[in-house]
């Protein structure tokens, strides 16, 4: 009798525990279902649209987010550099390359929950109309705690880092050439030992 109750409890524990934990894990993973990966960057183009899958709908409900519409823009998230290492706030990075066509874009340093970082009330972010560009219209932006010449996003502290590149008013969201364009590379240039 006791054995039977014990087995019953095991079944219930695995079912409830495993079921909820797997949902939690899938929703937390940035490269989850419905993701579009371009180079180091990941986006969820269908999030918030009627075509969204159940995972995207659950993510919206849990996080209370109001995702950008297709006419507004598309956000790409990078959590790893080109070598595949996780981004860290005590390291220096260089975001280098070019973006697809867009009216403008912003590059924001954020924590793993995608809340934007700041330093002394100033956001750790740059936008495309304020950066210096090379002759071929490409750019390089330094991200790190130490000042760098050219474009620099200042970050402080320790822990994980995420970079969010949001393209505004871009034909990319219309599905034209999705997956056929290039995004900048995220290169690690140095790290505090």
């Amino acid at each position: 009798m006791i054995l039977r109750i014990l087995l019953f409890l095991i079944v219930i524990a695995i079912a409830v525990g495993g079921g909820t934990a797997s949902v939690w894990y899938v929703l937390r993973a940035q490269d989850g279902i419905g993701a579009l990966t371009v180079g180091d960057w990941t986006a969820f183009p269908s999030i918030g649209t009627p075509a969204a899958d159940p995972y995207a709908r659950a993510r919206i409900a849990r996080d209370g987010i109001l995702p950008l519409g297709r006419a507004e823009g598309l956000a790409f998230i990078a959590e790893r550099d080109s070598a595949g290492n996780r981004l860290r706030r005590d390291c220096d990075y260089r975001v280098e390359g070019a973006t697809p066509t867009a009216r403008f874009w912003t590059l924001v340093a954020a924590d793993p929950t995608l809340a934007a970082l700041d330093h002394g009330g100033r956001p750790s972010a740059v936008q495309s109309r304020q950066i210096l560009r090379k002759a071929d219209n490409s750019f390089a932006i330094a991200v790190g705690p130490r000042p760098a010449p050219g474009n620099w996003i200042r970050i402080d502290g320790t822990g994980s880092l995420a970079l969010v590149l949001t393209l505004y008013d871009t034909p990319v969201t219309g599905g034209a050439g999705l997956g056929e364009f290039e995004l900048p590379q995220v290169l690690r240039t140095g790290c505090d030992a």
Partner: protein, 180 residues
């Protein structure tokens, strides 16, 4: 031993069922979604900021720090919803969401008549009524026909640098959201 294996297998099948059930129930029962958070901060048709210190911690924050945003909840059962007032800014965009936070329609400043925001959200049935005799007030409006009851309108404004912040903030704050 065999019975333990059987119990684990049964548990895994149950976990699959619970996984699907939790996933599908989350949007229905969540009290952390955008609608719930906004309703804690203000009533229907109140224009609430989603940025800055004045935004309640419970209210969802606009994700991009170089943007400011305001939101307004509406219920089309009260009549058509009219949002207007945001003028010539570097960039603004509008999204209409349904009760569950799904994006129904979005457009930006390039799509509006005079560069200013003038948006009417209505159901197809209300659209037929409005078409019969277009009121002068809607002469330059963008109409969004949506088969939704309750919903949220979010207006976002781009802040190119800190000196723009007060201007964008007052422009967005001056937006008017009414049921007519």
């Amino acid at each position: 031993m065999l019975r333990l294996l059987y119990a684990v297998l049964l548990g895994l099948v149950g976990a699959g069922i619970v996984h699907i059930a939790v996933l599908l129930l989350l949007p229905v029962v969540s009290d952390r979604d955008a609608w719930s958070r906004l309703s804690q901060a203000g009533g229907l048709y109140a224009v609430l900021p989603l940025h800055g210190a004045e935004a309640d911690r419970r209210v969802l924050r606009s994700a991009d720090p170089l943007f400011q945003a305001v939101a307004c909840r509406f219920d089309l059962a009260d009549g058509v919803t009219h949002i207007r007032g945001v003028g010539h800014l570097p960039y603004w965009s509008v999204s209409v969401y349904d009760r569950g936070g799904q994006n129904v329609y979005s457009f930006n400043d390039r799509s509006s008549t005079a560069g200013t925001l003038d948006l009417v959200v209505l159901t197809p049935a209300q659209m037929i009524e409005v078409r019969k005799d277009l009121p002068q007030a809607y002469a330059e409006s963008v109409f969004v026909e949506a088969e939704i009851g309750e919903g949220i309108v979010v207006v976002r404004g781009f802040v190119p640098d800190a000196s723009w912040a007060p201007i964008i903030s007052s422009e967005l704050g001056a937006a008017v959201c009414t049921a007519e």
